[in-house]
Amino acid sequence: MDEILQLFLSETTETMEEIGGEIVAWEADPADRTRLDTIFRFVHTVKGSCGFLDLPRIAALSHAAEDALDAVRRGEREASPQLVSAVLAIIDRIVELTETIATTGVEPSGGDRDLIEAVHGDGAPAARAPTRAGETAEHEDAPAPKGQSWRTIRVPLDLLDDIMNGVSDMVLARNEVARKLRSAGNASGVTGAFDRLSNSIAEMRATAGKMRMQRLNKLFAPLPRLVRDLGQELGKRVDVVVDGGEVELDREMIESIRDPLTHIVRNAIDHGIETPDKRRAAGKPENGTLHISARQSGNQIVIDVSDDGTGISIDRLVAKAVADKVISAAAARDLSAERKLDLIFSPGLTTSSEVTSISGRGVGMDVVRSNIERIGGVVDLHNRQGAGLTITLRVPLTLTIISGLTVLAGDQTFAIPRLSVDEIVLQSSDSVRIDHNGGLDLAILRGERLSLVYLEDSLGMPRAATGDEDRTLIVTRETGGNRYALSVADVYDHEELVIKPATPLIMATGLYAGTTLPDSGKPMLLLDTTGIAAKAAVGRSIAAPIKDDPVDYQRARQALSFREFDGSVRTILLSFVQRIEDVAIAAMSRAGGRLLAVIDDRMLPLYDCAIPADRTHVKVLRIRVNDRELGYVIDDVVDLVDLPYSFEPARKGGIVSLVGMIDGQPIEIVEPDHLAAAVFEAAVDNRPTCRIAGVDNHWTHQFLRPILESAGYRVLGVGDPGAAAIVLAAGDDVAAADGKASIVCLRDSPAGDDDGSVYWHDPDGILAALKRIEDAA
């Protein structure tokens, strides 16, 4: 039987047990409003649940009872004894039906018209339902199993925790016995019996662990209904696809992600998916799709919520962030696209232009992120502007059991969460160089410059006398993302560790995240790698210049180095480079005040530069910044390089923002955002204006205008104020032309006259005509 049905059955039975007394009391005093409300809530809940479950009989019954009770609540009907009996008869029938469903798994066929008519009519029930007493008698006649075949019970979480603790105690006791048996030798043949005991304890531990697990279905089941209701309220149509409901997760984790997930879904419907009209205009199906999926990946659960709505408008987000004083306008300009997207997590920010009843109350993604991070999870965004947004939640499988690494500092062992460990390297390894300068320790690992923190120093313990070469480096990161190297005396095994919260005295040190009890029975502290980094001032000393950097160099450090025509070598982050094209000089032209290249029948705006006259072909880097593409003309590609971690800011400004050292040579780093600003803003200043006169229709809005704009023209429509240098005039409406403007006449048939006019559905012809005017000017 499916789990939702089971849940419905157990809940219904349970509520029935609870309100049994209320029903009887209401029967005695039909004027009692509180009792009436309780019963109303019950039938209302049952009705709601039936909607999902395809239980037409129960749905019809509860609906009828709800109607009648609602009328009583509004004072339209009197709670006559007949009505009370009719309602009670319905409730009895519902209980009867749930019991049958519990045994057979399906709702039995049959009619309930008698009861429904009875509750609707004012008179006596047409066929009076069996009284409660009568029904009981019936059950005594048929002592069938009381329908408990769904075999689930509700257990308080505390009880489960007690069992877990008990099992952990048993495991420890077993270990102690095992040690004693070993030291005593295999005396008296207990070993076999002990092994059996040991195995059953291991099995029991596994089972106890599973008790806390729950299917994500429990979390996902209410979402389709939520989406349907929100969609109706907002006039949007949304299809929901749910995958991976069978994935299991610790109960407590499920509770912790319920609110963030609901919030994300609400956001997707409210801000993401457009109204059917807008979707049609954007060429999308009228029904939006919300895809919710879950999968297990290692000891993490990954939940994706993906919609095909508008995505996040980076420009609007930044504007809102600036308006809300989350960030200054100047700082916002310098952010990379990825960092701009991160602004969505700023406290108190919402991108919705108006506050709706659904979301946009100012409680936003910051709460989602902090809730997920509190349980050791991560939130990722994948934004497809105009095409949708995917939010990925990664959460650990359980709160209490983590995979940990045991390390030695001084003479004491500590645990580090495996998730926060990037890499483990011997300090004696060839790939590591350790520098000590003025009290500052650095580990240079394959060219990457990392702060080096000795764990003993952080913990105020004496370092063992052995030299550095015996030690091990653990490359880890703090929550800000900065990597650093933690030097420990030794690294032992990976272990699954049961983590217990530590007392406030321990947490106050800021160095520990919890305690754990390994099989040895000697408690161990779980290190907080962020706290250790903070204490060692890792973020401030070395990583700071990197962190303040506009582009997130740490995530995407591979860069392309290339040669300019003047022989200098520069680099640009590889992640921004879409591809490298060979472009013939013949395919390049100056139009609309800027250099353009035609590649695959598309205009690509280029960063202006002087190309030596003897070239017939040049290489162009196609660079994508903030969803706009531009070209950067280079002499040749030199190499792929890893960007260094330390930079000097460039003094002269322009498109170069930083200078770093690669292979002993200073190298300029081209900043894509600055490049985009130079290319696109330069064009804004002296774009020629072009007016489309005489026609104002779908074609001019959706096609002609974008074509002209991407070719570098500022486009005015029919009623727009301002003077245009060029007028595209359709039909005889040339009179409306701006005074001194050059005029391109558009004709409405493809068959050409010789009057120099252009067919108005021929964009290439129009662009060519515009270009002729430009060239003449």
Partner: protein
């Protein structure tokens, strides 16, 4: 008058009483792990079955020199705000019923005691300080 059960212990030569309702058990402490960087009265962690507890050196909490012992000593297990603590004392005498009501403290105690003692009781011809375990666990600003 209902008799109240107290546990009589000795801290730095002073006999004190703990209300028994605050006490879980008295255990022998083994396998103590120190907690680097923790406040000095935090003597380490130890395990009682599967529960990890913090060990509090009451001498240090009150302002005396640590006796420097932990392993193998007896500790009084108390529950403060859902966390378990073991209180290391110099000696545990006995549990006994006291029929007299608690009395307010008359006059001023020395600084360390002032923070942790909440009342006095009369027992067996002597006046004993009643100690609040919660105050031992998180002493107010110690001489900083």
């Amino acid at each position: 008058m209902i008799d109240t059960l107290y546990l009589i212990a000795n801290i730095a030569g002073t006999r004190v009483a703990f209300r028994s309702c605050a006490i879980e058990s008295v255990v022998i402490v083994r396998n103590v792990s120190p907690v680097p960087c923790a406040p000095t009265h935090m003597a380490g962690l130890f395990a009682l079955r599967s529960r990890v507890m913090s060990l509090i050196d009451t001498r240090v909490a009150i302002g005396f020199e640590s006796a420097g012992r932990a392993e193998g000593e007896k500790a009084i297990v108390v529950d403060v705000d859902g966390h378990f603590y073991g209180l290391l004392v110099d000696g545990i005498e006995d549990a006994c019923f006291v029929s007299e009501a608690e009395m307010p403290i008359q006059g001023r105690l020395a600084d360390g005691w002032h923070d942790v003692a909440t009342a006095m009781i009369e027992h067996d011809g002597a006046t004993l300080l009643v100690i609040d375990a919660a105050q031992l666990v998180t002493p107010r600003q110690k001489a900083a």
